[in-house]
Structure formats: structure tokens, C-alpha cells
């Protein structure tokens, strides 16, 4: 049973992304939104763990609007997929449940 994990807090100030990465399964997906998009930076505290989990096949998304609103469009690491609210809705359908970390 696959889960979509949503992270809306920056890993620079909260541990939700770190906690999520510890339990995220191979079939799961991760969506970074709001200040959670700071997790998409190559310099983020969870960058290494995130890179490892992407290599295992987990898809990691970031909400484009929230990335742009913070001026991070040029700074997000390779391998992170950008999406919008229509994509968010679609992701919530493709996964069996949605776990919000906040």
C-alpha cells in the first residue's frame, strides 16, 4: 500500500522531512510544499538521505508555485520533480493514502 507523504515545513527548522525519510517505503512518494520546498535544495540538511531515497526509485515532488514564491527555481537539486495543484490531486489519487507531516 503506497503512501504520499506531504512535507510543509523547512528541514532547516523542523525534523518532519528527516522523520518521513526514515519510514518512507520504496513504493511511496514525497511531495514538498509550502516551506517544505526548502527540502529540495542541494544544501538542505536532508540532502544526502533524499538523494539516496530518490536512487531507490522513490519519486520526490515539489510544488512549483511554492518553489517560485521563494525564489528557489534555480537552486533545487536534480531528481526533484516539479508539479502544481492539479498534479497534487493526481498524486493523491495514485497513492492509496496521504500522510501529512507538519
Amino acid at each position: 500500500m503506497s503512501t504520499l507523504h506531504t512535507i510543509n515545513k523547512s528541514p532547516f527548522s523542523h525534523s518532519t522531512l528527516a522523520s518521513c525519510l526514515q519510514v518512507c517505503g520504496k513504493q511511496d512518494g514525497i511531495l514538498l510544499l509550502e516551506d517544505g520546498v526548502f527540502g529540495a535544495l542541494a544544501s538542505s540538511p536532508c540532502a544526502e538521505e533524499l538523494a539516496t531515497i530518490i536512487e531507490t526509485g522513490v519519486r520526490v515532488y515539489a510544488l512549483k508555485g511554492d518553489v517560485n514564491a521563494r525564489g528557489l527555481q534555480e537552486k533545487i537539486r536534480a531528481g526533484i520533480l516539479l508539479t502544481d495543484y492539479n498534479g497534487f490531486v493526481q498524486l493523491s489519487i495514485e497513492h492509496k493514502c496521504v500522510q501529512s507531516w507538519y
Binding site: T6, N8, L33, E34, D35, D66, D84, Y85, N86, F88, V89, Q90, S92, I93, C97, V98, S100, Y102
Partner: protein
Amino acid sequence: MIFSLAIYAAPYTSQASDSAYRFALALLENGHTLYRVFFYQDGVHTASSLNTPPQDEIHFTHNWQALAQQHNIDLIVCIAAALKRGLLNKQEASRYDKPAFNLAEGFEISGLGQLVDAAVISDRLITFGG
């Protein structure tokens, strides 16, 4: 597909209530159904009829009222979370002998059972935390 949303975040405090509203718009635009929005913890502040943001800022109370009317969505506010934060309907104001009530039209005060019901009835329950 049937969706319900649980909003734990206060309006204007974090971005979460804005995210929830945008998600609601997107799912409706994509032809899905929004069965219920459950306002819990600080999220109950969304339902105050006294919310008066500046005219050029988002009015979450009005936005949810309009969306609910247009798409027949249940807007439920947790009674325990609401009362302790000073959000009352006419009946509760009278029960506790309060001079006024402030639950906005279109919102309904009810119990946590309505969140469980939303989880059972809906294909997806999405939580927006503050």
C-alpha cells in the same frame, strides 16, 4: 473520486489554509467531489463571521462559504475546539449564557465523529496542518 479535507491550521498564521483552499479548487476543477471540510484545532478560526481581513487579502471564510454553496460541501467545525476558542453558534451561546455568537453562515458545529464519517465515506482524506 470523493475527497474530504481536514484543516488544522489557523487562517493567516501559516500557508496551510491557503494550500487547502487551492487543493479544493483543483480537485473540483478536475471533476472530483469534495464531501466535507473538517475544521479542527486552530483551523476553527476560519469559521468566525467576525473575520475581517483587508479588502486586498484573501477572505478564507467567504471563500469557503461560496465554494460550499456552489458545490454542496459540508463545512464542519469541531465543537470542542471551537467553544474553547470562543467560536459559538446561537445554540451554544444560549447554553453557556454568552452575549453573542459568531459562527459564520454555511458552517456547522459538530463532533469528531464527523471526521471519522468523512474518512469512511471519502476515497481520500487530506490533512492540512499548521
